[in-house]
Symmetry: D2
Subunit: 388 residues, 4 copies
Amino acid sequence: MSATAFNSIFFNRAHSSNKDLIKQQNVKSRIKCSIKSGIETSQKNVRVGVLGASGYTGSEILRLLANHPHFGVALMTADRKAGQTISSVFPHLGTQNLPDLIAIKDADFSDVDAVFCCLPHGTTQEIIKGLPKHLKIVDLSADFRLRDVSEYEEWYGQPHRAPDLQKEAIYGLTEVLREEIKNARLVANPGCYPTSIQLPLVPLIKTNLIQTSNIIVDAKSGVSGAGRSAKENLLFTEVTEGMNSYGVTRHRHAPEIEQGLADAAGSKVTISFTPHLIPMSRGMQSTIYVEMAPGVKTEDLYHQLKLSYQDEEFVVLLENGVIPRTHSVKGSNYCLINVFPDRIPGRAIIISVIDNVVKGASGQALQNLNLIMGFPENLGLSYLPLFP
Amino acid sequence: MSATAFNSIFFNRAHSSNKDLIKQQNVKSRIKCSIKSGIETSQKNVRVGVLGASGYTGSEILRLLANHPHFGVALMTADRKAGQTISSVFPHLGTQNLPDLIAIKDADFSDVDAVFCCLPHGTTQEIIKGLPKHLKIVDLSADFRLRDVSEYEEWYGQPHRAPDLQKEAIYGLTEVLREEIKNARLVANPGCYPTSIQLPLVPLIKTNLIQTSNIIVDAKSGVSGAGRSAKENLLFTEVTEGMNSYGVTRHRHAPEIEQGLADAAGSKVTISFTPHLIPMSRGMQSTIYVEMAPGVKTEDLYHQLKLSYQDEEFVVLLENGVIPRTHSVKGSNYCLINVFPDRIPGRAIIISVIDNVVKGASGQALQNLNLIMGFPENLGLSYLPLFP
Amino acid sequence: MSATAFNSIFFNRAHSSNKDLIKQQNVKSRIKCSIKSGIETSQKNVRVGVLGASGYTGSEILRLLANHPHFGVALMTADRKAGQTISSVFPHLGTQNLPDLIAIKDADFSDVDAVFCCLPHGTTQEIIKGLPKHLKIVDLSADFRLRDVSEYEEWYGQPHRAPDLQKEAIYGLTEVLREEIKNARLVANPGCYPTSIQLPLVPLIKTNLIQTSNIIVDAKSGVSGAGRSAKENLLFTEVTEGMNSYGVTRHRHAPEIEQGLADAAGSKVTISFTPHLIPMSRGMQSTIYVEMAPGVKTEDLYHQLKLSYQDEEFVVLLENGVIPRTHSVKGSNYCLINVFPDRIPGRAIIISVIDNVVKGASGQALQNLNLIMGFPENLGLSYLPLFP
Amino acid sequence: MSATAFNSIFFNRAHSSNKDLIKQQNVKSRIKCSIKSGIETSQKNVRVGVLGASGYTGSEILRLLANHPHFGVALMTADRKAGQTISSVFPHLGTQNLPDLIAIKDADFSDVDAVFCCLPHGTTQEIIKGLPKHLKIVDLSADFRLRDVSEYEEWYGQPHRAPDLQKEAIYGLTEVLREEIKNARLVANPGCYPTSIQLPLVPLIKTNLIQTSNIIVDAKSGVSGAGRSAKENLLFTEVTEGMNSYGVTRHRHAPEIEQGLADAAGSKVTISFTPHLIPMSRGMQSTIYVEMAPGVKTEDLYHQLKLSYQDEEFVVLLENGVIPRTHSVKGSNYCLINVFPDRIPGRAIIISVIDNVVKGASGQALQNLNLIMGFPENLGLSYLPLFP
């Protein structure tokens, strides 16, 4: 749907009741206020809901939307903080004139065009099942990422509650599945680790440049990936000035990664995947150790990645020899990649970095909603990294 | 000068030589490229130079300009890194297509409309003296902040080298001196501490609500304020997990602050000013302890600040009782302020926070250049804080 | 009581039952094991209990005791973690052979000589009231710090539950009240802020060198001061890379500080006290702004502090002009102090730094128990700061 | 040599001149003072020099020696800081009464029994060559770690300048080469990465439980490993809140690790080794991905490590399933290890953590000098980790 087409729909909701009109005006006035400090734009004509706006992926959506020329925030939910202002929950958003938080049961979606679903894993299937069908949905939880619902049950410990929706869901790895996403109604936004790992590996597996056995991924993440819930092990005092592996062999992102790699390979793939918690808020690096196919050299990997991503804005292969740093993507939607020879002949080392909250979550989600809505993919994502 | 007027000048540089034309085209094409990931805009019609682009204030200017609809980067200088690409100096800017760094002596300013001068204190007077007169200049160094050149000599240990320019320079505390700045050719951009301290105090002094004796400022700054030069005391290992006062009674921002407060008071002011180095990259808080004038209450202070800043976008008085946090301004141009009663009767505590690199440096500088060029003050500054 | 006398008591507990003997042997063997990696010592003949061993002050007591030649850990309580090993609660102590955590109701104090009480404020009065009278007690909570029980009620929101014990309690500011502490049975260990503030101010007030009006304390603390309970505002992501004031004018340490200063002054004292949360685990700095008495100079303050602390091991006045840093005390029991002239004539700036967990809590507590037990004050406290 | 024997030597240096006696007395009195806050001990009868005391490994030696019952600091060198007090170079040691820093050319070693050599790589061979032969030496640089001097030349870019000494040098991986170290005069103290990697791998390779091909080490280090020299890339602002790989395939510790593993295997070993810089001061984790020998299970690896290290104080195999954390060793000499199954059948994941400054440098150095001098290996090393 083009932006122009969309506008006309927006301005011709003929069947609105008076009460609806008043509400609609409230929403519009709020949206108008909400861009007080945003970029100059004639209007925000797509109305977006943020479900679960009291977590970090929700607040990041709000940050990005402030500079989006078309997407305005129509409603925000947070069940446990219903009734609160956004400034009481996220003081850094307090300068914006955003609607107050409401309970999801009180949300009126009749005026809403699309939602970002930023709710916890396990609770999302039921909620999305209950949403009106006119809504476009980008779901940032893991609830619709695994096509095989039995695998969902195995890793998440409960039966899948919306298997029909699962069939409809499109996996939102933008650069890999762009065309499918454009036509989706429900996008399952990828996990942060899976994004950072699949982006470099999928093209190399598809072109048979690397072996799919013995792929070893040593991944490192900032703490924001664990969300905002108050847990002892995430306290500043417990995290700062130290690091540790976690979820060794049992991290829930493993089946999601393997699903994507298997799609690329056309056969089952089992990887070694060990995440590490690093004392930083944002940032994710995957250091990936691979065996190359016989006769293949690291230069071949480099050239393939160059080829695959040369027209992409957000996936960038660095110059030969330059090591990606998470500092270089903080707050931005970029994924930086490079390839290095290993000391062990026949092996290569691939490094990719993203901001786990942006390209690994809310940024890619916005990229996907832009696609669904027919807008340029990069709207609202033109943030350079914040450094230092 | 209005934006429209400016455009016509830009497109009618009739006297360009062929060589100039080629260069101009290069510049334009570069500018075009440089906004690859910026907001969509028909053109960037004001050409800006960044002198001293290898430091943190320079790189922050570049970050902000990426989303400016009119200012394009025409040239960037860094004498010790001349010939290098920006990505080798600031990897986080490597996705942008910016011109390579050049030595300032090789800069051709004939096509440039304005410069941000991000050079070290003490070296800037000579350089600005040598710049063409058609350039608008925002100087981020301390070299033109003190009106009294003898005071400059006292605090900076060398005679002022451009006393005539000093007379012309306008102090760039935007919200306080907006009208003067609009007509300025050379703006002396305020220091970070002075910005965070004068913004809350100037209105209160002007209205005689607080005493000008015994103003005690306990200020805290992130490490980026010390710049990017390699010094042992700024190493990660020396800074993390600890803090300290520095420059006790001798910090060079003291006379700058006192100059501004004296202007507001109409008489000499001497303050107590103790800065502290905090283990964080960005952020600055000034905790200011004042004696109120007889009969004045903290509510009076609050109301005056409300009145003074109610129409300002970037200076925000928080709701009653809410404590400003530096987290809430990181990466943004906001200054958050609040006022609290003290346990000691007759005294009040004022807290203000800014991002020292944005409102305390490059953000305010851009705000000022917007004013000079006749654009809306907030162009390129619509960044919400990055949190977490 | 001398160490020798104590030994004889220890080895002649004639009335132990068989069951007691077995338990005692268990305790002793555990103690023996617990010093596996401790300093070499013939035996640990004083048996100490740690009540509330699952918090940071409790674990710090355990760290310090590992190198104490006489104090062995006989029991450790933690009601919510009863039954767990110390390594499951504090992995960094897992190399030590310490007793498992038990519920306080299951603790048998008959073999115990002394306890450190590291329980939360508000719960401690009842518990200490119920302890056997032969126990020496150092209480690290705030429950016995305020002599005036009505003041306790005012600041802590509940009536004092052990007013008789309050009368007996000695305030444990070691260097100021050493002689009283030696004869105490119950010591109320000072708060961290009160320690860092009273140590420099008490001698200056006692000698009338500074005014007691308009004492302004801007204090900064690491996050460990807030303890180990899981709260959203203490998450790594919420704390790192930012800072804020908290408890402005309402921090519960204010009356404790004012009580100590009033004792020194012989009259009521009201101070301005604003604490700040700094993104570091340990460390505390108090920057104190004072008015000197007429005719007094900063040199006089310096000399008085020199005089007061010249024989103290743990309170150190730095050389003239040297700024104390919290880095210089991390993990140690030192308090470093210095005095600086202010820009405002007649005023001075005093800076003191401590490790809030050591001198501000567990270290001073051990210093106090050493005194009570008749041992050299510094036993178990010979840790140099950990840097970097 | 026993401690008693050593004492008698110490007290019978019959040939001392008068001048020497005075100096000796000065040294002794200084040593006496230096333990002001150390553990109580009758005397410090071994006199130790610290060459290169202005770096982090030097200062850490000083921290550890403060609680050593026998080793006193007789002299400290730092050529560029000669004449300065230790407090001006390391304020955290300022409470100790240590000798001033001198230039190495001015050091009189006649009264010194042993030295820790904490000088930069490349400069150490010449200096050690020039030291008196009666000195016991633990060298913390890399200059004597590679037995093959041609390999040294290849990796360090300059010819080895003391090949004869190289033949004499014993590699100081304490738990592996204890008996050889006892009789050494010159110990080449292992690098931090090699320590953390060899300790878990050597026993497994020796017992043929793992393949020596395809050993992949993803290592993470705190910033202190880079030393105290002022470099832009080590600034707080450049390090905090981000991470990166470095020295990919080219880190100088690779040949050292491979040398040790080859010794264990009896054949050449080539490993994949990628270090990462983590935003923390101290701490090192090696995540090691190995292929097990046919039929071997992770339980076998666990049991072998249990067997190998059951009598060791400082190398600790954690309980089954417990993940080692660098937090758990900060400031201590421990190495914590554990073994985990991999998702890929036949592979295992081994995790080891150390404090790079202690077990990875100065702590192991002291362990080695204890051995050489005939003292219990753990003297001066009884520090529990500092947490939080």
